[in-house]
């Protein structure tokens, strides 16, 4: 994208190993809690890979282990073919991280946030200035160059975090809930940039609990819950496998459930809705509206949300 670097040793190295991240039975246990329970996954080069799951599923803990910040309790983990336990510094040099909680340096200006950060990667001053300028342009923050962090909006902070994570031209970009707490405009802005980065061949791993975000962005994803990976696949494949058909939805009432029972159609209930999976949605919808004049019926294709709720249940998580 914004760089004109020649192919470096790092890139060559990466071509040699197939996986950017490889985890087998990866486990993280705290004293009285298993945060990540024997999960296995792999991320290949150029992929936009997602970890989807409710709060507390173990997504962030997994990211922390990949970033070589949190040591694993068990299992195997390789990043760029190296072990985080022994090669943390080398691996971190090639990773860019956008944390869930903003940790921009409030003591420094927007521009200094980028150039000071670059120093921690041994990037020379001239190089750092050039990259900072390019990245601010890419993220449409040129006008905020000398602003202090406090004065930035939530969306701008997030974009600056992204810019900062790209300062070292990373071979792997990790984003922990990249659009959490942002308004729709700011979310779309971030998505647009992420898709652009993916198109340029960046390997990106993100965690999210937004289903639309996962469905829209990810090439492949895993759904995590209670420290385990439930399923993995592309968003489309997951919907095909687990939902398979279209969905007819209607308000919950005893008459409707009695009717569906009587014509031997199985249904699910969630919240105030009755849901029926079917390959003939129109037909069922017509029968329902014929039977109950006043009823509100919606037909729609199955979505990642249906997969997600089916697998994780509807209970509210703290």
């Amino acid at each position: 994208m914004v760089y004109d670097d020649p192919v470096t040793i790092n890139h060559l190295h990466q071509y040699m190993s197939q996986y950017v991240i490889e985890a087998k039975d990866l486990t993280k246990r705290y004293r009285d809690l298993t945060a990540v329970d024997s999960i296995s996954f792999s991320v290949t080069r150029g992929e936009l890979f997602g970890f989807l799951g409710p709060n507390g599923a173990g997504k962030t803990t997994t990211m922390k282990m990949v970033q070589c910040v949190s040591p694993r309790t068990g299992g195997k983990l390789r990043v760029f073919g190296d072990d985080p336990e022994t090669s943390g510094r080398i691996i971190r040099k090639r990773i860019g991280v956008v944390p869930q909680e903003t940790n921009l340096d409030p003591d420094l200006s927007v521009f200094d946030n980028l150039t000071v950060y670059a120093r921690f990667f041994d990037i020379g001053r001239d190089d750092a200035i050039k990259r900072a300028k390019n990245l601010l342009e890419f993220f449409e923050l040129e006008g905020k160059k000398d602003t202090i962090i406090e004065k930035l909006s939530g969306g701008m902070k997030r974009r600056l975090l992204l810019a900062r994570a790209l300062m070292n031209n990373p071979d792997l970009l990790i984003l922990d809930e990249p659009t959490i707490g942002l308004d729709p405009q700011a979310r779309h802005h971030i998505w647009e940039k992420l898709l652009k980065l993916r198109a340029e061949g960046h390997t990106i791993v993100l965690t999210t609990h937004y289903l639309d975000e996962a469905a829209r962005l990810c090439d492949r994803l895993v759904i995590m819950d209670h420290a385990k990976i439930l399923v993995d696949g592309s968003p489309d494949a997951l919907v095909r496998t687990f939902i398979g058909m279209d969905i007819v939805e209607t308000d919950k009432s005893d008459q409707v459930t009695r009717y569906l029972d009587s014509i031997n159609i199985s249904y699910g209930t969630g919240g105030e809705m009755i849901q029926v999976r079917t390959d003939k949605p129109r037909e069922l919808a017509d029968r329902l509206t014929e039977q109950f004049r006043e009823i509100r019926v919606i037909t729609r294709p199955g979505s990642l949300e249906d997969v997600f709720l089916m697998l994780t249940g509807r209970g509210i998580r703290e």
Partner: protein, 263 residues
């Protein structure tokens, strides 16, 4: 083998200097606010205690009272600057600003972060020592040669106080609990380390406790020797305590921060 160790130490040192540099840059941005207090503070103490109380005291062991307390004021301000930087400054960067999290996502290691913080705290101490030296020099209250030797030494003392503060910072559950070491450790040190009166005026048991537990005692004793050009009877003990303390508390600080942050 030896080359490998040197190489590792080199990488560590570069990392430490990068962390140090970040803090120095922020300090430089606010230089006007940051540089004024170290000049004002010694003048207040010299004025109130030196000239005020000093009017009733002619001299202590042949040294005019104001010259007797001048080295103590220098030592105490090194302590204050270093200690508070690594107590509150470090805590704020770790807990509120999440600066450490940001640093630890780069190739920088936790050891480098903590040592960078400690050396930065010591630098704050040195900056204080430097400004007070100028005041003392202008007022003719200290030996110029003594001051020259005292400056690098105050950096070492700064490392000691910073590393102790870093230990407290690492175990403090909240910023409020930091007032415990401030009132139970720093404040007594300021008063009972032979700062404003000679240590031997205290009951013997308190003297022993001061030598054992209050590192400022040793710093004051050495700096006083340098600035008033008098002999320091306990110099060997003073130097050993400071050197050993610096090493022990630096390692301890790293260990405690690892326990807190690497989970």
């Amino acid at each position: 083998m030896k080359i490998k160790i040197n190489e590792k130490a080199g990488i560590l040192l570069i990392g430490v200097s990068r962390v140090w540099f970040r803090n120095a840059l922020v300090f430089r941005r606010n230089i006007r606010v940051n540089l004024l207090p170290p000049f004002i503070e010694p003048l207040l103490y010299l004025g109130a205690i030196g000239f005020g109380i000093g009017a009733y005291i002619t001299d202590i062991e042949g040294v005019p009272y104001i010259r007797f307390i001048a080295p103590a004021i220098l030592a105490a301000s090194v302590m204050n600057a270093s200690f508070f930087e690594c107590a509150y400054g470090t805590y704020v960067r770790m807990y509120y600003q999440k600066t450490f999290d940001a640093l630890l996502a780069t190739p920088i290691t936790i050891q480098e972060v903590i040592l960078g913080e400690i050396f930065w705290g010591a630098t704050r101490g040195l900056i204080s020592a430097l400004s007070i030296s100028i005041v003392l020099l202008l007022l003719g209250l200290a030996s110029p040669v003594g001051l020259l030797i005292a400056l690098p030494f105050s950096f070492l003392a700064g490392v000691l106080f910073s590393s102790i503060a870093a230990c407290f910072s690492a175990v403090s559950p909240s910023i409020d609990t930091m007032s415990y070491p401030a009132t139970l450790f720093v404040a007594p040190m300021f008063l009972f380390s032979g700062t404003f009166f000679p240590l031997h005026l205290l009951p013997q048991i308190v003297q022993v406790l001061a030598l054992l537990l209050l590192p400022l005692t040793h710093v004051v004793s050495l700096i006083r020797g340098l600035l008033t050009e008098t002999s320091v009877p306990l110099w060997a003990l003073n130097i050993s305590w400071i050197v050993m303390g610096t090493i022990i508390f630096s390692f301890l600080a790293i260990r405690l921060f690892e326990r807190r942050l690497v989970v």
